[in-house]
Symmetry: C2
Subunit: 365 residues, 2 copies
């Protein structure tokens, strides 16, 4: 896996958007395809909160990526035509510097001494990488979910650098409902006795808090409609007798599904990194870059945009997609707004490939 | 407070719907108004999951009840005309027998030895109380939220006993989305180290788990729209500096609101009772009483029904209200279905009194 992942160390000091700095942070990334001679065919992808830079498989790493059906030769983001870069967000734990990394100034793991993380910092990490790669123009910037907000930050901080902008399941800012959910997820982790103010050890991780947070995540990433169709009231067990002495164990299929996904996730993601990225999502606000959301969006110079939203998305409701499309349009800009009826809620861009494949292909034609 | 609350002890053994029995359980209740000579003016209210029987103030207990603007002299459920009874659900902890009560067979607190609780048991508790009070006919049965499902159970078990049926923010069964949310709330409590398999002590209650569960409750009881209007992205503090050493403390108004409500709730409600009532809500299914939901609903004999639902309700979506109205109609029955646009989601029946007052008054005219 490590063979496909590359690392770039930003030289010197990296100033953080909300204060403080990092010394020589690393940005992990993967690339697919070839940069053309004019250095004009690059596409940059910012990810959602939890994925790594491994968007798709390659010769160096044949394991399937998180967007395996979208990025590749002959696929919607065609790596025969484009040089595709996916970065692991600064603050994450899949190769990029984050709270789980060692602070070179102290020789200790950052943990909660990591400065406040903003999506503007994640965006700047991507920008520094482009400079390092000698790329001065992007054919397109692509961002689903948190990656969409990071893309907006990028556009606001480095205007005119990208010709196209493809956003999906994202928004100009977090709404209080999403803030409440993420705040509760953070609290679940922080209240786990093993969290120990961020000083957990490998032998005693706040796994319970992480599991609970992941389950709440799954509940908000999908939709009530999907589960009604998929699980209904199907039972794992007809009996309600306590199993293994547990009176309130799993009875319904939907409970078993959540359990399965929580077990898969936990252990992969560093809890402190989760807290920082989660809070960064709450803090982001296009209005910080222009006084109001609309004024901020008007400053974005991408010539062509596509905004894809899903009606069943709880975290970034469809109204927020419409707002983005409205704010980005005008001034001779080409903006396409697509409203999908996918059942899979916020996660649709990872699951409902039949809907997304043709849309993304059209954007890149 | 205890002056208004009355207690009735069911004589002998009380068989539980899903097996086991209780010995001489107590049903706590309050009443308002006078039973007329024909014993024909009684109205029975089953509550949502967490309230006590104290729906409204009275001379004996002047503290405001949870439906203070609905139940009283000259109010929509007019206590000058009706003899109004509100029961504390069996399994709860406000006077009725539940997991926090002493099992007379052992002299010990039931805790998790309490048999599986079903809303059918809660309904039977209400029925036994009516028999005790010498009431053979109800003018109306009223149930919001979990109380609505309890009312449906009552109608299915004791058909023809009530002339009218007023349901709000409820459904014929729990959907997997609601089950997932409640399952996660239960897990938060059960994973609190102080839970200790239900054997917590007064000095070390699973308060963290209860606080988290209550916060998730608040998130699902209200609506994203309400919070957008009420809180927006207002901050409690402009600074993101760690406060009292807490790097991820409260920053946004919505976080402060949840904190306030969690603190108010915790300590009032017994954690084991919470688990039992929560699971009982998941288990209820009208289809258990007729093969399918529609067949079950057709068995209900109430002559006049009103179903009130709210479009912003997450827990019992508006489709479920429509399903109830459809299932209850026909056969010369009078059914009114009201779809409200209240902003306050599932909790609207407790908050949006301007919408509910005239509707409930109309039903009781």
């Amino acid at each position: 896996m490590a063979k496909a992942r590359r690392h770039f160390t930003v030289p010197g000091e990296f100033p953080m958007y909300r204060g403080g700095s990092l010394l020589q942070p690393t940005i992990a990334y993967e690339t697919w395809g070839e940069l053309d001679d004019a250095r004009s065919n690059a596409v940059l992808i910012f990810t959602g909160m939890s994925p790594s830079a491994h968007a798709a498989s390659s010769v160096l790493d044949p394991t399937p990526g998180w967007w395996e059906e979208i990025v590749g030769p002959g696929l919607p983001i065609d790596t025969r035509r484009y040089f595709v870069i996916c970065v692991n967000s600064l603050g994450s734990c899949f190769g990029s510097t984050g709270p789980a990394s060692i602070d070179p100034r102290t020789g200790q793991i950052y943990r909660l001494t990591f400065p406040v993380l903003s999506l503007e910092d994640v965006a700047r990490g991507g920008y520094e990488l482009l400079r390092h790669l000698g790329i001065e123009r992007l054919r397109a910037l692509v961002g689903p979910s948190m990656g969409g907000m990071t893309s907006l930050a990028f556009e606001l901080m480095f205007p005119g650098l990208s010709e196209g902008l493809l956003l999906m399941s994202t928004g100009s800012r977090a709404l209080p409902f999403s803030i409440a959910l993420r705040s509760l997820q953070r609290e679940m982790i922080r209240r786990d006795p093993n969290f120990n103010d961020g000083n957990y050890t490998r032998g005693s991780m706040p796994l319970t808090g992480m599991r609970l947070a992941r389950k709440l995540g799954m509940i908000t990433y999908r939709s009530a409609e999907e589960w009604r169709v998929r699980f209904g009231r199907e039972r794992v067990s007809a009996s309600l007798e306590p199993m293994n002495g547990d009176s309130f164990g799993i009875v319904f299929e939907v409970e078993s599904y959540l359990e399965h996904h929580a077990n898969k996730f936990t252990g992969q993601f560093d809890p402190n990194c989760y807290l920082y990225l989660s809070r960064a999502s709450d803090l982001f606000d296009v209005a910080d870059h222009g006084g109001t959301v609309m004024a901020g969006l008007k400053r974005i110079e991408a010539r062509r945009s596509m905004i894809i939203g899903v009606k069943t998305d709880f975290l970034f409701p469809i109204d927020q997609q419409r707002e983005l499309a409205e704010g980005l349009s005008g001034r001779g800009r080409e903006v396409e707004f697509v409203e999908l009826s996918s059942l899979q809620g916020h996660d649709s861009f990872l699951v409902d490939m039949d809907s997304y494949r043709p849309l993304i292909a059209k954007f890149f034609e």
